[in-house]
């Protein structure tokens, strides 16, 4: 990674948060019209819109920190895959409904304690966005953990499938807590947070919900993904192609 000044670190730190939300919101949006019940269609869409709302604030702020005149739309629609700094967990394909809710649960259980700490960041803008996000994240976690329990403690079929979802998604959770230079610099500056402390909360939430769901915590593996450094798997490019198609074909298009 190229060396960055502190302002570059700051911008990248905010962009990571923004991109994780944006990408996950787009994934959830793919469910609209396809969820197993009309009620779940709206439940997923509400979560997606919450995440998208946060992403817009964060993207706008990241653009301002960057100081090159890029607004939220330029950042969302006109960047290449390698410039996206979302966590790899967010870009994983929806799979079945259980896969989607398992992904959401692992994400929400991380985002809530992260926002709780960011709410007292030395960066007032980021603190304000996080404080607003805490309430939304708390509901998202309630919704997704409810489904993990229902599926895990449901039938033999649903139990086996959601256990498989957790096994597949688990390797992507490691980077959430793996502090790199940017994370450390931001923590030292009082802007970021202690990811180790976030992990303690995450592990507690995950342990409690998996116990109620009669599911087993998957084992940790040595290799890590680093979506937050722009290293993405095969799936993100396809998703972005769909998400960006309209702006690429009709630059500056508006409703």
């Amino acid at each position: 990674m190229s060396t960055r000044g502190d302002s570059g670190n700051h911008g990248a730190f905010v962009l990571r948060l923004a991109d994780s939300n944006l990408v996950l919101a787009q994934r959830l949006g793919e469910w609209i019209g396809h969820a197993p019940a009309l009620e779940e269609d709206l439940g997923l869409a509400n979560t997606a819109l919450d995440l998208l709302g946060q992403a817009r604030l964060l993207l706008t702020y990241a653009g301002a920190l960057e100081g090159r005149g890029r607004d939220e739309d330029a950042l969302a629609y006109l960047r290449e895959e390698g410039e996206y700094l979302n966590c790899a967990l967010a870009e994983q394909p929806n799979g079945d409904f259980g896969d989607t809710l398992a992904r959401q649960f692992l994400f929400d259980a991380w985002q809530l304690p992260l926002y709780e700490r960011l709410a007292s960041s030395r960066d007032p803008q980021l603190a304000a966005i996080a404080a607003r996000g805490v309430k939304e994240a708390r509901y998202h976690l309630r919704y997704s953990s409810g489904w993990v329990v229902r599926l895990g403690d449901g039938t033999a079929e649903s139990h086996g499938r959601v256990q498989g979802s957790l096994e597949r998604l688990w390797p992507y959770t490691a980077e959430l807590f793996d502090a790199d230079d940017i994370d450390r610099a931001m923590q030292v500056a009082g802007i970021g947070v202690d990811l180790g402390a976030v992990r303690v909360d995450w592990e507690q939430t995950v342990a409690a919900v998996l116990a109620e769901a009669t599911l087993a915590r998957p084992g940790d593996r040595p290799w890590h993904w680093y979506g937050k450094r722009g290293e993405h798997g095969e799936h993100l490019g396809h998703m972005l192609a769909q998400m960006q198609a309209l702006q690429r074909a009709h630059p500056g298009a508006r409703w």
């Binding site: 197993p36 019940a37 009620e39 779940e40 709206l42 919704y143 229902r150």
Partner: protein, 96 residues
């Protein structure tokens, strides 16, 4: 997963703000009470419609039989004296 049409039906009641009654706003399908509350929140309060939600299994509601409507409700029709409309209401009383 079972089809959502096999999920039990719940009736949803929303209290718009403090001091008002919960009002029936609609119904939804859910597999359990917790999901019913969450669905109600997602379907019926996304535009700040309320501050409190009740859900109740539709099958738990005991309703009058439409066939009994004549016997139940007709007899009240010609008993205007049951309405408190034969009093002069003082101007100072605003909320009666």
């Amino acid at each position: 997963m079972t089809e959502s049409r096999d999920w039990p039906l719940y009736e949803v009641f929303i209290r718009a703000r403090g001091g008002l009654d919960h009002k029936h706003v609609g119904s939804l399908h859910a597999v359990d009470a917790r999901m019913a509350i969450e669905h109600a929140r997602d379907l019926y309060t996304r535009r700040q419609e309320g501050i409190s939600i009740w859900v109740v299994r539709s099958e738990e509601i005991v309703a009058s039989d439409p066939a009994d409507a004549d016997a139940f409700f007709e007899p009240a029709r010609d008993k205007v004296y049951r309405h408190p409309t034969f009093y002069d209401i003082p101007d100072e009383v605003k909320t009666l």
